[in-house]
């Protein structure tokens, strides 16, 4: 049973527009959420994170929003650039619980930003 779900396998956006990647989770004990970006033939790289005590975290063009009541988070990229084309993984952690802070990953969303 998937605890972290990314229901859109792919997303295509025009350069300069906003990209919105979504992620849902089922475990209410998750208290820390991260987004990783992955290019082909490379390992995932950390992009941005958010603690459950916040509902928004911003870093340059990247903003993550957390809606705890809906168990939903989203990553906004504004403006989108062709170099943002990659697979984006949502991950969650239950810092003080049974998973001992280990990450649970979604299946990823492949973002294509067209020039």
């Amino acid at each position: 049973d998937q605890q972290v779900k990314q229901n859109s396998p792919s997303l295509s956006v025009q350069e300069g527009r906003i990209s919105i990647l979504n992620c849902d989770y089922t475990n209410s004990m998750f208290d820390y959420f991260l987004w990783y970006k992955k290019y082909p033939a490379e390992g995932p790289t950390f992009l941005i994170s958010i603690s459950s005590i916040k509902d928004k975290n911003e870093d340059g063009r990247f903003t993550v929003f957390l809606n705890k009541s809906a168990k939903h988070l989203s990553l906004h990229i504004v403006p989108s650039q062709p170099g943002d084309s990659a697979v984006y993984f949502c991950a969650a952690s239950d810092t003080y619980g049974g998973s001992q802070g280990n990450l649970i990953f979604g299946k990823g969303t492949k973002l294509s930003v067209k020039p």
């Binding site: 972290v4 820390y32 991260l34 990783y36 390992g43 995932p44 790289t45 280990n102 990450l103």
Partner: protein, 111 residues
């Protein structure tokens, strides 16, 4: 800083063979992890370590073994390779949970 280094990058194994995937990090991180990623799937945790001499099972440990004799190294051993172990393997390390730095991956095919 090299970060997290994995070797080899690619390997083809025959069913029943064994091999060790090497992972080393130069960031003096206490936490190290092994993940596998199957096509179209997210990363699943195989084993992890919170420090030298301490290892524990993740979500999918069957068919694998690990050791952590030093802070830097965290090798993953496959005994009796099976086609179900065909995957891309990622090693990662972190100073504090849960942000982790990943290696470039090892693509393993078992035929």
């Amino acid at each position: 800083n090299a970060g997290v280094t994995q070797t080899p990058k690619f390997r083809i194994l025959k069913i029943g063979q064994s091999m060790t995937l090497q992972c080393t990090q130069d960031m003096n991180h206490n936490y190290m992890y092994w993940y596998r990623q199957d096509p179209g799937m997210g990363l699943k945790l195989i084993y992890y370590s919170v420090g030298a001499g301490i290892t524990d099972k993740g979500e999918v440990p069957n068919g694998y073994n690990v050791s952590r004799s030093t802070t830097e190294d965290f090798p993953l051993r496959l005994e009796l390779a099976a086609p179900s172990q065909t995957s891309v393997y990622f090693c990662a390390s972190s100073h504090r949970q849960p942000e982790a730095f990943f290696g470039q991956g090892t693509r393993l095919t078992v035929v």
